[in-house]
Symmetry: C2
C-alpha cells in the first residue's frame, strides 16, 4: 500500500425533501449573497429552482442567478459568472445541477478569489488558486461525483480543449444536498451515462500500478456490484427511488477518494482518452468513457492479468474457469456487456463517431500534448499507444 491522504469535508444531507434545508445550510456557512448557478430549463420547470429560492429567502439570504451551464461546461460562462460575482458582491456559490454545474461553480469560485488574472491558468497548469469562494451544491444528476471530489473540469469552447483542475482544499463543496427524487425524471441516456461515469471513477482507481489495500479493494468491489445492479434496475424502473438513492450515493463515494485509499494514483488513461472525444465532439462524458474503456483494457491487461481476473470474479461474478488471462478477457467482455446493456456505446462508431486514421492521429496528438506526455498509471501510454487504442475503439 501507498501512504495516502483522505479529506472529505463536504457535509452531505441526503434523502427525500432535503433541498428545503438549503437556506439554513448556506446560512451556517455565513453566506449572505448567493449566486445560484444552474443549467437549462429542467431545474426551472420542475419547480426545484423556486423551492431553492424560497428556502434562501426564508433564511434571509439574497441571491442572483446565472443559468445556461451545458454539459462539458464552457469557459465563457465561467468568465461571465466571475464578473457577475464581483459586480454583485457574491460571497457564496450555490450550484443547482449535476457535475457540469458544480464544476462551473468551482471555476467561478477560483476565478473570483484565486489571484490569477485568468481562471484558465489554473486549468492550464500555469497557476495555483490561493483562495476561492465557498461552494455548495444541490445535486440533480448522479454521475460526476463533483459534489464530494476535489476536481473541476472545464472546456475552452474556442480551442475545444477540456481540462481539469484539482485542489484538495478549495475544490471541495461545503455541503451537498442530495435528494434522489430530483433524479427520477432524468432521461434514460443521461441516467446511463451517469452510472457509467460512477463505475469508471472506481475502475480508474482500481487499476493502479501500486500495491493496494484489501479493505479498499473490497469496498470498491462492493460499490461496483451495487452500482451495476442498480443501473440495470433503472433501465427497467426509472422511477425506483431506492435504486436512484443507491446510484446517487455511489456517485459521491466513487469519487471522494474512498475507493482508491492506499492504492496510489490509479490509472485515469480512459478519462484522458475520453476527454478528447467529449471535448472535440461534445460527446457525453460517460459515453466517451465506455466507447474507449474496452479497447484500453485489452491493450493494457497483460500488465497485470490477475487484477483483471479479480475484477471478473469479484465484480462481474464470473465463474473461476480457465486461465488468468482468459478470465481477465472474459471480464473485460462482461463489463462491455454491462455498458452495452445500458444502451451506451462500446466503440466510437457506436457513439456516432466514424473517424478516419487522420482524425484518430489528431486525437492521439492532442491527448499526448503533441507527444510531450504519457497518460495512465496502470500502464503509461505514449502517443503511439493512444493511437493504437483509438484505432481498436473505432
Amino acid at each position: 500500500m501507498v501512504n495516502f491522504e483522505y479529506y472529505t469535508p463536504t457535509r452531505v444531507v441526503f434523502g427525500k425533501g432535503v433541498e428545503e434545508k438549503v437556506g439554513s445550510l448556506v446560512k451556517e456557512q455565513n453566506g449572505k449573497k448567493v449566486l445560484v448557478h444552474y443549467g437549462g430549463q429542467s431545474a426551472k420547470k420542475s419547480g426545484l429552482l423556486d423551492r431553492v429560492f424560497a428556502s434562501l429567502k426564508e433564511a434571509g439570504i439574497e441571491y442572483v442567478e446565472l443559468g445556461g451551464v451545458v454539459p462539458n461546461p464552457h469557459l465563457s460562462l465561467v468568465y461571465q459568472g466571475i464578473e457577475l460575482c464581483k459586480k454583485e458582491g457574491v460571497d457564496f456559490l450555490l450550484a443547482v445541477g449535476g457535475g457540469s454545474v458544480i464544476d462551473s461553480s468551482k471555476a467561478i469560485a477560483y476565478g473570483v478569489l484565486g489571484g490569477a488574472d485568468d481562471v484558465w491558468d489554473y486549468y492550464d497548469g500555469k497557476a495555483t488558486a490561493q483562495a476561492a469562494l465557498p461552494v455548495g451544491a444541490v445535486l440533480t444528476i448522479a454521475a460526476a461525483g463533483s459534489e464530494m471530489s476535489n476536481s473541476s473540469v472545464i472546456t475552452n469552447e474556442k480551442t475545444l480543449i477540456k481540462k481539469g483542475y484539482n485542489h484538495d482544499i478549495l475544490g471541495r463543496c461545503r455541503f451537498a444536498v442530495m435528494n434522489p427524487e430530483l433524479t427520477l425524471t432524468l432521461p434514460e441516456y443521461q441516467t446511463a451515462c451517469g452510472c457509467a461515469d460512477i463505475v469508471m471513477h472506481t475502475l480508474e482507481r482500481y487499476f493502479t500500478a501500486d500495491t493496494t489495500m484489501e479493505i479498499t479493494d473490497s469496498i470498491a468491489e462492493a460499490l461496483l456490484r451495487t452500482t451495476m445492479e442498480n443501473a440495470r434496475t433503472l433501465t427497467r424502473e426509472p422511477q425506483n427511488y431506492n435504486a436512484r438513492a443507491e446510484i446517487m450515493w455511489a456517485g459521491s463515494l466513487s469519487h471522494n477518494g474512498l475507493t482508491g485509499a492506499g492504492g496510489g494514483r490509479g490509472d485515469w488513461a480512459t478519462h484522458q482518452l475520453g476527454h478528447e472525444l467529449s471535448g472535440l465532439f461534445d460527446l457525453a462524458h460517460g459515453a466517451a468513457l465506455t466507447a474507449v474503456w474496452g479497447s484500453w483494457a485489452r491493450y493494457v491487461y497483460k500488465q497485470n492479468p490477475a487484477r483483471f481476473a479479480r475484477l471478473a470474479l469479484n465484480v462481474l461474478e464470473l465463474p473461476a474457469e480457465g486461465s488468468v488471462e482468459e478470465l481477465a478477457l472474459a471480464g473485460i467482455e462482461e463489463m462491455e456487456n454491462f455498458f452495452w446493456g445500458l444502451d451506451l456505446p462500446i466503440s466510437m462508431s457506436e457513439a456516432g463517431l466514424n473517424l478516419d486514421d487522420e482524425k484518430i492521429h489528431e486525437l492521439a496528438v492532442r491527448c499526448s500534448f503533441d507527444g510531450k506526455r504519457t497518460v495512465g498509471g496502470f500502464k503509461p501510454l505514449a502517443q503511439q499507444d493512444m493511437e493504437a487504442i483509438y484505432k481498436m475503439a473505432k
Copy 2:
C-alpha cells in the same frame, strides 16, 4: 432507507512516518499554543512524543503537555486539562494516543469553550456545547474510531458512570495522523480488543430496525470481512505492517458513519450493556462488548432472523444450509468463535467477572437508568431484557 447526514471533515494523513507532519498540520489549523495530551509511558519510551515535540518546535509552535490518560478515561483528568488550557492560553489540543486520549481531549476541548460551568453536563445530557477548542490526533491504537467519529466517552470515576457525548461538528478532529507502524508494538490483548471494537462499531449499525441501503450493507460486509481476516493475521504476525494498516483504516471507516449511511439509528444496545461492565469493573471496552454480544444476539435475533442469516452468509461466509433461523444462530456462534479466536471473552466469567444475581440486577438497573430508558434500536430492551441478557452472558 432513511434520510441521513454524512459529515467527515477530518483530514486523514495515513502511512509510514506521517507523524512528522504534525507540526505543519497544527500550523495549517492556526494552532499557536498546543496541549499535547497522552496516556502512559509507551508514547514516551517509543520516542513518539519526542518526534511530535520536535515537529511542533520545527513549525514554531509552543506546547505544554498532560499525560496520564487511562483506558475508560477519567473525568478528573479532564478537569485538570481544562484548567491547564485556560492557565496556559492553549488554542489547540493534540491527542497522542488511542480513543481514550482522543475522547479525553475532546472533553477538554468542550470544557474550555463549551459554555457550561461543568463539562460533565454535556455528557449528562444537561447542556449542549456551544464551542470547543480544535482537536487533532496522532493515533496509536486502532479501535475506537474517535479520530473520525463525532463521539467522546468519559468515565466519572467517582460514580463509576461512563457516558458518551456526541457533537456532529465540534466533536470531529481537524486532522488524524495515522501511522500503522505506531501500532506494531501493541500488546496482543489490546490489539484484539481494538479489532473487536471495530467489528462492533459496524455491527451496531448493521443491526437496525430500519430498511437499509444495499451499498451501505455491502460496504459494511466488506469492511467486516477484511477486519476479521486481518485481526486473525495479527494473532500470528503482530509485526505485519499491511495487516496493521488494514485494521487502522477499518477503525476509522467503521465509526465515521459510512457503514450506517441510510440505515437509520442502528442498535447500540451492546455498547450500552458493555459500558456498564467497563465502567463498574474497568474492563477493556472491546472485551466488554464481546462478553455480551452473543447473548444479546441470541436474545434479539427473532426480531429479524434474515438479517442475522445475511451476516452469516456474507460476512462469516457460512454455506447456505438449513433454515433462516438455523443460519442466523450458526452465524452468531461463528462470530463468537471469531472473538474467542482472538482470546477475547464471550461471557462475563471468561472476562473474570463472576457476578451473582444481585450484581446482575444492579447492572440492569444502572443500564436502564433505574427503569427509565430502553436501549437498542434493532429491538428496544427494557430493564428486564437487559437483566435476562446479562444472565445469559454469565
